[in-house]
Symmetry: C2
Subunit: 160 residues, 2 copies
DNA sequence: AATCGAGCCAAATAAAATTTGGCATCATGA
DNA sequence: TCATGATGCCAAATTTTATTTGGCTCGATT
């Protein structure tokens, strides 16, 4: 699937304003509502876009603790990776998990109601591969720049 | 603003299905559409929810490089922090930035078209406080668990 | 008991989404 | 060159949704 200027524009707008109406979107990209809807449906079907999420202002909803962890596995076998990944995936408090190159194997972002509960999760992750996991915890102090979408302009500047 | 079970349910549904129609949402939480819309508006006005974002499947849209960085400042003055933060905020390729406790000062997530461009951004960040910034780059290999919302059930279990 | 405010629902209205049909363009192959 | 078919557009009709309105109930307050 190749993207023309209009479809890129749709992606760019939709990624930051997921609840925009189709009519407004159509106006912004210069299409009729029906054509615009067609494009959006195709982008969704091709899985270029979605799911649609809302940011919650967690600070206003409840008390919580957010922690970013670096994780190293002493045993870097495929099985060890798989075990750790599936543990991360199965625990809802682990809200994000990446594998990376370099001095760590994983980055995790974990959100828990309090430190005691965070400690439980940390212990659980350590127990996945006993004695073979090294986790460093970094409590989030401020969210300087929350994620608000990818820099499509910069990423697509070649292929204008 | 205190949240009853219904409003929590609204937040929970909306954070994962931002484009759900008000009617469907009303059905799911057991309210009439008008009451449901009232609640959503109030939650929005109180900034408990929003903005609304779409996930893009970047892999299908363009080639890109994603990097997670740990950053330490040698000079941990308020001014140094501020300088670094505003550099992070002003560059769209830095898609996320946290300040944290522990052995690092910042975590960054950076998305660039390619390694050459990533290197430019890295250099720019180093130049913010010359000789006083230590950055470790970790190229993202896989996104094991993409962010799909906070674990509201776990976070609010006390206050049912 | 009267009053006020909050929050609900049903129903009416306004707006948006979706479908439909027809037209233009373009690539393909006869 | 001239069908043919596929694609993508628009306008208009239709269906669905959002939004407004008004009236009702429940609790708290006076």
């Amino acid at each position: 699937m190749q993207l023309d200027r209009i479809s890129r524009n749709i992606l760019s707008i939709l990624q930051q304003e997921a609840r925009i109406t189709n009519q407004d979107l159509a106006n912004r990209v210069g299409l009729s509502p029906s054509s615009c809807l067609n494009r959006v449906r195709k982008l969704e079907e091709a899985c270029l876009i979605g799911p649609y999420l809302s940011n919650l202002n967690l600070a206003k909803i409840c008390r919580s603790v957010e922690v970013i962890c670096t994780v190293s596995l002493k045993d870097q076998s495929t099985d060890a990776f798989r075990s750790f990944q599936s543990a991360a995936q199965s625990h809802p408090e682990v809200v994000e998990c990446y594998t990376v190159s370099g001095s760590f194997d994983f980055f995790l972002r974990i959100v828990a109601p309090d430190m005691a509960r965070y400690n439980d999760i940390n212990d659980m992750l350590l127990d996945v591969l006993p004695g073979m996991v090294n986790i460093s915890s970094h409590v989030v102090l401020t969210n300087v720049k929350p994620f608000r979408g990818y820099p499509l302009d910069a990423l697509l500047e070649q292929t204008l």
